[in-house]
Symmetry: C2
Subunit: 289 residues, 2 copies
């Protein structure tokens, strides 16, 4: 399989650098083909701006989304952006690896998403109707691909636990996993998180890399997070609020993950399956300018 590793850390000799190298070796030994986007090494341009296209639709005023659409549709994107989109198209799975800085990804990686996620590729896909609100959250151009976060943090696991002061790690990662990965169609695997990075000695490193290896071995088989598909009947359209009988009375991010003990809603299941097939058909004919 083809795996893209998008990676952001300024120091190759860091724990992150070692884990990234481990990932490459491990996947290649297992017979996979790997490409790496090492954003610091590439001197990736972080800021989305008017220089991201070769020719502006409007020179009067810069509208990020309409310029992105124009450039994407007409092969006018900056070359660094088009190259990353080609890697995404090629990949069967994408691993995003980064240190958690101020409770999110480094600016450089955020800028990768802002620039590479063009209108027509990652958003602004599909039609709006009474039954559908575009192709997103469970469908979209990346349907059929898998994504996984590999994250390191200096804090303790308890600080990121259900009642830990930093907030639960799953909630901190929700805007990324749900908002940036599930949104354009990825199946998102549970994250691999390394805590308390200041205390990683050789023994602990061996343990961490072994655990990461196991996750890489099951990249194709482990169950993705059960985020709810937008157009499968779970959400009212266009309000996009969760149906009252699903996670009844619950608010917050966790409500958007289906629980194993939830009764199966056959109509919604069918709609989701249909949506998924269409998404995969779209995905295979996708052409990136």
């Amino acid at each position: 399989m083809n795996v893209l590793v998008v990676y952001a850390h300024p120091e190759p000799k860091s724990l992150n650098g070692s884990l990234k190298d481990f990932t490459l070796r491990h996947l290649e030994r297992a017979g996979h083909t790997v490409q790496v986007s090492d954003l610091y090494a590439m001197n990736w341009k972080a800021s989305l701006d008017a220089n991201d296209s070769l020719e502006r639709l409007s020179s009067e005023r810069f509208y990020p989304s309409s310029e992105s659409k124009h450039a994407f549709e007409n092969g006018l994107q900056s070359e660094d952006i088009a190259r990353e989109q080609d890697k995404l198209k090629w990949a069967d799975a994408v691993i995003f690896q980064f240190p958690l800085w101020w409770f999110s990804m480094p600016a450089l990686m955020k800028g990768w998403f802002e620039r590479v996620y063009a209108y027509g590729l990652a958003y602004g896909v599909g039609e709006h109707s009474d039954a559908r609100w575009g192709e997103r959250y469970g469908e979209g151009r990346f349907a059929g691909k898998r994504a996984m976060l590999v994250v390191t943090t200096g804090g303790w696991e308890s600080h990121y636990s259900a009642r830990g002061i930093n907030g639960p790690i799953d909630d901190l990662l929700f805007p990324i996993q749900h908002g940036m990965l599930y949104y354009p169609g990825f199946d998102v695997l549970p994250p691999f998180v390394v805590y308390r990075t200041g205390r990683i000695d050789d023994a602990k490193y061996a343990e961490v890399s072994e655990a990461l290896g196991r996750r890489l071995d099951t990249l194709w088989t482990s169950a993705p997070i059960a985020f709810r598909a937008q157009n499968g009947g779970a959400y009212a359209i266009p309000a996009l609020t969760l149906r009252d009988d699903l996670a009844a009375g619950q608010v917050g991010f966790a409500a958007h993950i289906a629980r194993a003990d939830e009764g199966v809603d056959e109509a919604a299941e069918e709609a989701t399956e249909e949506v998924k097939q269409r998404a995969e058909a779209n995905s295979s004919t996708m052409s990136i300018a």
Copy 2:
């Protein structure tokens, strides 16, 4: 009072640009002094890296936090960083204004936090003991200052409601409001959020700017979000998990906000007050190299 506006949008003629200009005029008319950090106009460097200090502590390997500490303590920070820290020191309140891109702030602003928030200034402050885990979450160098987000988004308000598909806006902003603003000591005011920016005509703009004006008029008097102080007794040290009797049984971000109907815990209140006084004393003697 002194107000710093940290602002990130690539187009001056955008809705964001207009609201930023409105904010400046409105605050100045009310007699306040305003400085703006217009990150796009400043061509702000987004990536935290080894060039952020004038002299490295170690040339062998780049450790972001120890290099930040060394540079901050010894007046060796890159000049653009030191200048922003001076503005923070000067400000009584800071407004962070940005469009919500992929459910967070633009990369350029994320890079502002990563680089300006030095070790010894925004983190790595205070001692660790059985009763305290550094000065953070309710104390820290910015104690006594206020902060507020001004955020625009293309999505509908219902999409960001308690059961909306994107997740509740308060939860999406928690990593910023709690993790990046409350952490180094800011009192964080409720955010000002503009939804459905594609549909802002003149009448709607008049309404939005009037509402923003009211928020600016009450910048000094409105109640901050009641995040719980770390060292006030609400959290076990060092696990930093919330005491069982507070928000009992609740998990997720909202548990870290005290509810109005919670019984007042006098011991915790006293500890918090003491913590606050010490923080404010620290803050007034703070010197930024």
